[in-house]
Amino acid sequence: MWLPVMGLVIGIILGLLTEIRIPEEYSNYLSIAVLAAFDTLFGGIRAYLQNIYDEKVFVSGFFFNIMLAASLAFLGVHLGVDLYLAAVFAFGVRLFQNIAVIRRILLTKWTTNKEKIEKS
């Protein structure tokens, strides 16, 4: 379990230490990608809690969503349509839904655990 945590820490350190500057117009893509990553992450957690977690789906969804979101934003910029807003909207809604589901599952688990403890 400590390996992914270490990966996260290393990633954060790398991100903070890199002095690479990307042009300002590309920061949109990055934010979309971050949003997509969050969405996938919470989706994965939800799937895990619902016992329908599949690693392949998670990993492929993670990278694919990031790239899709970025390319959608790219396309939007070149078409003159603010398509990244669509991505933000879609990912935002899904993020909230996923978090709500996780919350409910956790609540249910917590309640059943409590009942179990009280019963036993």
């Binding site: 390996l3 990966g7 954060i12 350190i13 500057r21 920061s27 990055l30 990993v59």
Partner: protein, 238 residues
Amino acid sequence: MKKIKVKVKGKNVILSLVFLVLGFMIAFSYHLTQIENQNAPRNLSGNQYEKTLALRNQLIAQEETNRRLQKELTQKQEMVQKNEKSLAKEAQVFLNVAEDAEKYRMFLGKMKVKGKGVKITLSDGAYDPKEDNVNNYLVHEQHVFKVVNELYISGAAAVAINGQRLTSRSYIVCNGPVITVDGVPHPAPFIITAIGEPDVLSSSLNLSGGVKDQLVNDNLVFTLERENEIVLNPILGS
């Protein structure tokens, strides 16, 4: 057992890769946003913008005024300099005039004068029983005239008889036993003081056949002294 471990490890590796990418992206985005916030000028609201604009305009106006005033100041300073120069010139002129006035006043006897010169004493000759006429050994006004004229001719700046300064309008009159200089009677002996170059004055008086010899011929006692400092008082009532 081994397979499961490996499987778990592989799972963890993929997961950590995912987390690495996630952490990197989050940190990078955070970092970037912070840099942008630092670099980008703070966004101004319309109100603030207008205020800034007004202040800027005010500043520009102020600077323009400053510039104009600075120019004016420079011009004024130049004028002051010019005036000062002309004043200095005038002061020089005035100084010259004042010096001249001083000099002329000295010549006119309106102030006390001091300088090197000679002192000549003319006394009556000793009583001589052989001489019938007492006038033959008394000092007369023409003797005084001679001495005074000779002194003036040889360049005396100021002449006084018994301490009374002579002017250009002085008159010397023989009045019985005394000589009247400008109405003031003076008895013998007459001390004639003159300011001027002592050498020149004395040598001109001592010329052979000159004033001294003539006076001595008239039986007068003539003494001449050089003085380093002669002080002549101003003419009274001038």
